[in-house]
Amino acid sequence: MEDMIQVDRAMRTQQDTKISAKGVQVYYGDNHAIKDVNVEIDDKTVTAFIGPSGCGKSTFLRCLNRMNDTIDVARVMGDILIDGEDIYDPKVDPVQLRAKVGMVFQKPNPFPKSIYDNVAYGPKIHGLARNKAELDEIVEKSLRKAALWNEAKDRLDAPGTGLSGGQQQRLCIARAIATAPEVLLMDEPCSALDPIATAQVEELIDELRQSFSVVIVTHSMQQAARVSQKTAFFHLGNLVEYDDTDKIFTNPQDSRTESYISGRIG
């Protein structure tokens, strides 16, 4: 295993590989949702998954923090390594893993708690703060990173559900980064937002790239082009093409990618 990572490192002189998936298969009952996907996701990079509805991009994203475990009928096969460690190894605690691999969902889903408690939720359950002052600091830092601090600092005790849609989504991002994850997964984070809120979240994603490896599933090809450095195109459960974003959008190798990008399928 170490060897392979060494090889990877050698190949990519600039960037480290954060996540490495090999021969991943996912079944929902009898439905073969993901077919033999191999992908290497770089650290401190935004990677976009694009593809038509039902192509398996969200399913694959949920494999990366074992969220599929919460679905009874889902079975995952193959190897997914994060920093060279197999996350489906029986020794790995999925609960710990999810603290390391944060996730932001399609629809903003703040808990019915105050803004402060929403952000403090993860640090509290994982015991990341020694005292209240530290917790306050984590909350403030996360909200600042999520570009929500200025709007929320005077109403930390107000319910998170009272925020606007875009603010709620940024609250969810703050909540996810409060546990100090190494990877941030985003499942269509802007599909329920208006264009202004989308622009704010996209700007935020670009900033988050400094600290995390970000994987984003999106339906909008413009969004993928705007925010990501690498793009993967999924079609019918297969990873069709994976390359630098510029290359995918200007010079796709596969005819299916080209059709999708030019709007002929999907």
């Binding site: 009874d72 609960v95 939720y121 993860g122 559900t161």
Partner: protein, 493 residues
């Protein structure tokens, strides 16, 4: 003409109206139903409804109003002496109605012809004997004024019934005729039928509401009657409940406090059993159980809700009571002698708690399931375990609904009767010991109204005062439950 026959005639008018209306509409369109504004069935229904609804409404109003009108007209004929002799005007009026009915029956069976029945005279004929031979027993001899009132009563009801028959049938015919004439291919029958349907639905809703109102009013009137005979302050503040069955209220102590205490104590024990068990069962079923377990366990749990409460009562009396005595009684397992007999607050409370489990669990299960999956995903996505998610995200989100479910269960516990009658004993007492026998408001309502007590005595009327107190308490709880549920409902949308 009997009411049944009148109803049959109206129905026949309706059927005839349907066929006629449909035919007329089709004829006006030259037999081509595409020319019609509405489907032919609507024209028929329109005519049928306008024959049926006014006639039926008129009949209903008439049936309610006529007895009142006749009673008012007749009661003026009764002399004050007769009232003093019998007790109350109502009792004399009951006699009047019995005499009138008896005479009508005599005419019906041919024992007397109509003229002879009106010519009766208390001096020459023995009315009581004549009616007695026809199976109408009277408590005392018929006085002249009672007979006169009875004759007037018969006359008025006779004319009333005749007018009723004529008016109702006329209403049916007029409705039928007018609508029949208006039926034409361009007539918007569909819209009119829509209004008719609306009326029908409003009528159904009104009946439900009016019935509730009627129940409440009857409770209120009897309660007022009770408070005329018994001091309200003694009823609400009295700490002693010992009704005497012979006296007229003077020797009875009818304080509600021991009963209310018993009710609340038993309900409290029941909720102490039902809320944790029901809630945990609901959490297991909705969050942890696999599909297979859930599909078996949930119906099994809900079977508990289908068991008649009298069966729970038997269970309390025969199983739980003796078991508790074995544990807490003299020489029992714990070496304490807190419990003298099988019937106790604990017995009734435990069994009632078991009865309430499906109530709490099934409502809570629905509420927990209504918490959006996104909440769970959000929490799992942050690395929370299942129980952390349940404790910190799902329960807070579902709390208002769960509180509502608990309050509804509480109002059921307060209104429960059979388990208490069999499990809690019959002694009204204010005590803190849960192993002592106590009784509740509902159990005492049963015991005050069963047996032959004089219905005008405070000992019987107290049942209504108890009933309305209970009603106010459960109503308050229900309103409070609804308020809580509404107030917090939108929180996670």
């Amino acid at each position: 003409m009997s009411n049944l026959l009148i109803i049959a005639i109206i129905l026949a008018l309706g059927v005839a109206g349907f066929i006629m209306g449909r035919g007329r509409a089709l004829r006006s369109a030259g037999g081509d139903k595409r020319e019609l504004h509405s489907l032919p069935i609507y024209y028929g229904a329109n005519v049928a409804l306008s024959a049926l609804l006014p006639a039926a409404g008129l009949l209903a109003i008439w049936l309610i109003a006529q007895p009142f009108a006749i009673n008012n007209a007749v009661s003026g004929l009764i002399l004050d002496e007769s009232i003093e002799e019998t007790g109350t005007r109502d009792l004399v009026m009951a006699d009047v109605r019995r005499v009138a009915e008896g005479l009508d029956r005599a005419v019906d069976t041919g024992a007397m012809d109509a003229e002879a029945s009106f010519a009766l005279n208390t001096d020459t004929d023995d009315v009581r004997d004549t009616l007695g031979s026809l199976g109408v027993a009277l408590g005392s001899d018929v006085t002249p004024d009672t007979l006169a009132a009875a004759q007037r009563y018969r006359e008025l009801s006779g004319t009333g019934n005749l007018f009723k028959t004529l008016a109702v049938i006329a209403a049916g015919l007029i409705g039928l005729g007018v609508t029949y004439l208006r039926t034409h291919k361009d007539f918007r029958a569909r819209n009119t039928v829509e209004n008719g349907v609306l009326l029908l639905l409003i009528g159904a809703a009104c009946i439900a509401v009016l019935t509730t109102l009627g129940i409440v009013l009857s409770l209120i009137f009897n309660t007022i009657e009770f408070f005329r005979l018994y001091q309200a302050s003694e009823f609400f503040l009295g700490t002693n409940w010992s009704p005497s069955f012979s006296g007229r209220g003077q020797t009875s102590a009818l304080g509600i406090l021991p009963l209310l205490w018993g009710t609340l104590y038993i309900s409290f024990v029941a909720l102490l059993v039902a809320v944790p068990l029901g809630l945990f069962a609901a959490i297991y079923l909705s969050e942890y159980a696999s599909k297979g377990v859930r599909s078996v366990a949930k119906p099994l749990l809900e079977v508990l809700a289908g068991i008649p409460t009298i069966v729970y009562g038997l269970f309390a009396l025969l199983t739980v009571g003796p078991l508790l005595v074995e544990a807490f009684g003299e020489g029992g397992l714990f070496g304490v002698s807190w419990m003298a007999g099988g019937t106790a607050v604990m017995t009734a409370g435990l069994v009632m708690g078991i009865m309430l489990i499906p109530f709490v669990s099934s409502l809570s299960d629905d509420i927990i399931n209504a918490v959006p999956q996104a909440m769970r995903d959000g929490s799992y996505g942050l690395g929370a375990t299942k129980s952390e998610t349940v404790r910190q995200v799902i329960l807070p989100a579902a709390l208002p609904g769960i509180v509502g479910a608990v309050l509804l269960a509480a109002s059921r516990a307060i209104g429960e009767t059979m388990i208490v009658v069999l499990g809690a004993g019959a002694a009204a007492r204010l005590s803190l010991n849960p192993f002592e026998a106590m009784t509740t408001v509902t159990a005492k309502i049963v015991s005050q109204l069963t047996g032959d007590s004089d219905f005008a005595s405070p000992e019987a009327l107290v049942a209504f005062a108890l009933g309305i107190t209970l009603f106010v308490i459960t109503l308050g709880l229900n309103v409070f439950a609804l308020y809580i549920v509404r107030k917090y409902r939108e929180q996670y949308d």
